[in-house]
């Protein structure tokens, strides 16, 4: 595994003494899409800003593409594209000049064909001669993306790219992100929307109060989420599970009054029919049945609550 962004024990204390990052360690793999989830004020923007050079870190180290972001800032920053959370654009300039400026600022030679490709991809080509102030909010956000892409970054940070964006445009953006990934760009995006993380991320990180609470392959996470639990309450408590039920993923509750069966909802057969038959066959009489499913939302809320207590 090659980490294109390598963060070691990163801490950030703002001037007022507020500790926004409390030692974050994170390795971002080349070519992946990482979604960072977290409530307001979790430190997502602070983390991104520190990587990109907008804020200084208090302790720890950050390397991008092997370059230290402080010492080799040129090497590191020329790999990075940033789409900020806030819409910060020069209102009186045209789309075209703004994008051209970004490319030049990053030291890339003028390439109008490339910029045209980006603007077309983001459906901004028709608006290239418009001044930024004449654009809608969603268009402005796409201009920000165009600016970040204008200098062909290897790592792209998208800080809440779909906040305040309508459903259709959100789908467009996901397509754009998928396209970028296909081109080999590493993408880190922050979002409040769990569906968004589910839809496009390879890995999901949960951050709260300046700490990374979880980072996991989305597939594993989804597998965990795809699992459901069936609780079978028994008429009479038992001391141990009867023999012959060893093939099932079963646990007996402490009081012996219920049996919990964990199964995969996405599998072809859940095995419930057979289990119930086998339970009856083992001489147990059933009183009630319940099923439970944990969603990413549950995990997320659980983690965040844990962090708060």
């Amino acid at each position: 595994m090659t980490a294109i962004v390598d963060i070691q024990d990163l801490k950030k204390t703002y001037e007022g003494g507020f500790e926004a990052l409390k030692g974050v360690t994170l390795a971002i793999k080349e070519g992946e899409i990482l979604a960072l989830l977290g409530p307001n004020g979790a430190g997502k923007t602070t983390l991104i800003s520190t990587i990109c050079g907008i804020t200084t870190s208090t302790a720890g180290s950050i390397h991008v593409g092997g370059f230290c972001v402080d010492k080799d800032f040129r090497g590191a920053r020329s790999l990075i594209g940033l789409v900020p959370q806030e819409i910060n654009l020069e209102p009186f300039e045209t789309v075209w000049n703004t994008v051209q400026f970004s490319r030049g600022l990053f030291g890339k030679r003028r390439d109008d064909a490339y910029l045209e490709k980006i603007l077309r991809q983001l459906s901004l080509w028709d608006k290239r001669k418009s001044r930024i102030m004449e654009l809608s909010g969603g268009m402005k956000r796409r201009v920000l993306i165009a600016k970040a892409l204008s200098h062909e970054p290897r790592v792209l940070f998208l800080d809440e790219p779909t906040a305040g964006v309508d459903v259709e445009l959100r789908k467009d953006m996901w397509d754009t992100v998928a396209q970028l990934k296909a081109d080999g760009v590493t993408i880190i995006l922050t979002t409040h929307y769990i569906e968004e993380a589910e839809a496009i991320a390879d890995r999901v990180g949960v951050i709260n109060k300046g700490q990374l609470l979880l980072i996991e392959e989305k597939a594993d996470l989804m597998k965990r989420l795809g699992q459901k639990q069936l609780r079978v309450e028994l008429q009479d408590p038992i001391a141990a599970l009867p023999d012959g039920l060893g093939d099932y993923d079963l646990t007996l509750s402490e009081d012996g009054a219920s049996v919990v069966y964990t199964y995969d909802t996405k599998a072809d057969r859940t095995g419930i029919t057979k289990l119930l038959a086998d339970l009856a066959g083992a001489g147990l009489s059933l009183r009630d049945l319940q099923t439970e499913q944990s969603s990413l939302e549950d995990i997320f809320v659980g983690l965040v609550k844990e962090g708060q207590s």
Binding site: E15, G53, I54, N97, G104
Partner: protein
């Protein structure tokens, strides 16, 4: 040096200037004309000549200096304050550029604008008075140096300022008085001895004196001293800018 980046900043900043070109052009023409009418006609009718030069011609270097100093400051301070204000500074901070490149881009553009205005004023003056420039290259050099160093100063103000009031404050409260009291419209030798000494503490005196020497070969202070003053001022500003970017003062939280 990332020259592509410097060029990008310079071109982008100049675009702002070109958008308002007529405005940039007309206001110095009008204000210069007004100065000539007020100072030239009203005062000039009483003061015929200063050091053997007609009063109208005598005030030209001072007028140009007054404009390029205030313009240099306001262009540069606005140039860097505006991205801070609207938030586009994030891009500068995240770009692979060092402080020198940012400064060259912004200060270069601001200096170019004030140089343009200086030239416009000079051209306008020709309509009002007879001018012969004794040392044209020295004149140009002084003009460029002044534009650059005051743009540098303005750049610092733009970073320091936290709101629009502060942006106006330094030019209004410090620079304009210093320029007016710096011999723009009179020769230091016209003052009583005590005030002559006081005036020598005003750095602007040295700039105007040197500039006027380039026009007429007359100076209140030696030309070398004028050059030293402007070099010293630029160096001081450069040092301040270097420190600002090293510490991230008022730009990086």
């Amino acid at each position: 040096m990332n020259w592509t980046a410097i060029k990008a900043i310079y071109v982008f900043e100049m675009a702002r200037f070109f958008r308002t070109l007529t405005q940039s052009f007309i206001s110095p023409v009008i204000s210069t004309s007004l100065y000539f009418v007020v100072f030239g006609a009203a005062i000039g009718s009483r003061i015929d000549q200063v050091d053997g030069i007609s009063y109208g011609a005598f005030i030209v270097p001072g007028l140009i200096m007054l404009s390029i100093m205030t313009q240099g400051i306001s262009n540069a301070s606005f140039g860097i304050y505006f991205p801070k204000f609207i938030g586009t500074i994030y891009e500068l901070l995240s770009a692979p550029v060092n402080f020198l490149e940012i400064v060259i881009g912004y200060v270069g553009a601001a200096a170019t604008k004030s140089l343009f205005i200086g030239v416009v004023i000079l051209a306008t003056s020709w309509f009002f008075v007879d001018l012969t420039i004794l040392h044209p290259f020295a004149m140009l050099a002084f003009m460029i140096l002044t534009c650059t160093s005051f743009a540098l100063f303005g750049f610092i103000i733009g970073i320091w300022a936290k709101n629009f009031e502060q942006l106006q404050l330094v030019p209004l409260l410090i620079v304009t008085p210093l320029v007016f009291l710096g011999g723009s419209f009179y020769s230091i030798s016209m003052l009583p001895p005590f005030w002559q000494t006081v005036t020598l503490f005003n750095p602007v005196v040295y700039l105007i004196s040197g500039f006027r020497w380039a026009f007429f070969g007359l100076a209140d202070v030696p030309v070398g001293l004028s050059l030293l003053a402007i070099a010293g001022f630029s160096a001081l500003c450069m040092l301040a800018v270097w420190w600002i970017f090293k510490t991230g003062w008022r730009i990086r939280s």
